[in-house]
Subunit: 224 residues, 2 copies
DNA sequence: TGTTGTGTCTACCATGTGGTAGAGAAATCT
DNA sequence: AGATTTCTCTACCACATGGTAGACACAACA
């Protein structure tokens, strides 16, 4: 009589992960009780513990789900390698910003993870990120040789910091933009992302290259 | 027999705040028990509760102490208004970066506060930050009129985002720089701060102005 | 039809938490 | 010297937490 008939809603495991992500992003891991997660899903606490026998294992599952979705994005990033220069930059940075802006809980959760368990996050970084940081860094070096990219850029440092800044800035954007009281949530995120992109762009490319690209785009628009 | 003789170490209240700051920055408010704070200070739990009758009041005291130290820095920032252009930018950004780099617990604690209690932080921002954000923004506008500063900069947005980015990037620097395994903690902070400054600078000033300033500095060095 | 596995439940527990009550030592004041 | 204030302590409590044990319902398969 008690069970909810296992309708097509199904997969309580997934629903638990989703609810946990939301709650942990908002309140933090320690402040999120299993009970609260159960309530959010509409189920008893022990049902949660059935899928994840410890709270720790739930944390790992939530994080794994997040990284999994990041891997969905990576192909798009690598695909962008066909383009070159500014166009490639735009593709990569747009993808990065879009990833966190679409669901800020991801960003918030990761920021919390960085603060709460820095050592574990370091490992994730070394295993998951090192490869593509170096790929992007190598493109930056190429750009430096051809004079499009500033010579005072440290390639690895730039990539790492840009990613980190995108993560943290978008995770905290809604709050730190309190001085723009008449902007909606979406507008704040859009504005923040735009400023991040602008900053990342100018700190990477020399002005003369950007101006040149602009004029090219301008003349192309005239053609069509 | 039990009391520790009240030596010149003194002021347990202050020691409690210091220990709390460290612990809360590292583990978060909820995950930091009063017991743990007491242990860190070397005192019983109830002695902590003597000074701060609730955990919440302790949190407020810790935050107040932090903002107080920020007010020590503000004068230096405003003093810098005597300079102009790039020199002023350098003063302000150096002060900002130094404030968080000198003690990253400040940054971490604030980031946590942003995540955990966004609404309260919004109020702090509106009350404490609005004034000087507008001051700096007005200088940016002046720089835009004279062509030194890029026209695509949104003054308030830039100031806000730069401060936020400095805060979060320095708070997470030690962890996110895991790909530079052979750098010490201090070197990582220095490197992060340098990159933040570089990025903030290039996203604000046009290249021609920066080049011009460089050549001026160069000739001045020749004089002396 | 009986058996087995899956999922949800009720009942319970040990532990750690924030917080209260109040005793007692040391310094300060009168 | 006696009174008062300041500070730290021991003892205790109500409560929420993560986690265990086991009953019960449903579906699928033999």
């Amino acid at each position: 009589m008690s069970q909810p008939a296992k309708t097509e809603i199904a997969d309580n495991r997934q629903r638990i992960i989703v609810a946990s992500t939301k709650l942990m992003a908002a309140k933090g891991f320690d402040a999120t009780s299993i009970q609260a997660i159960a309530d959010a899903v509409g189920v008893r606490k022990q049902s949660v513990l059935y899928y994840f026998s410890t709270k720790e294992s739930l944390r790992e599952a939530v994080l794994e789900a997040l990284l999994l979705r990041w891997n969905d994005v990576l192909p798009n990033l690598l695909m962008a390698t066909a383009k070159s220069g500014l166009a490639k930059f735009d593709s990569v940075i747009d993808e990065l910003l879009e990833f966190f802006a679409r669901d800020v809980d991801r960003a918030r959760l990761l920021v919390r993870e960085i603060l709460d368990r820095p050592d574990e996050f370091k490992n994730v970084l070394r295993k998951q990120a090192k490869a593509w940081v170096e790929i992007v860094a190598s493109f930056i070096r190429k750009g430096q040789e051809s004079g499009q990219i500033r010579s005072n850029v440290d390639p690895e440092g730039y990539v790492l910091q840009t990613a980190c800044v995108a993560l943290t800035a978008l995770g905290t954007a809604e709050c730190t933009s309190a001085l723009f009281p008449n902007l909606s949530r979406e507008e704040i995120l859009k504005k923040t992302a735009a400023e991040l992109k602008r900053s990342a762009r100018h700190s990477l490319f020399v002005d003369s290259y950007l101006h040149h690209q602009e004029s090219i785009r301008g003349s192309k628009e005239k053609e069509t």
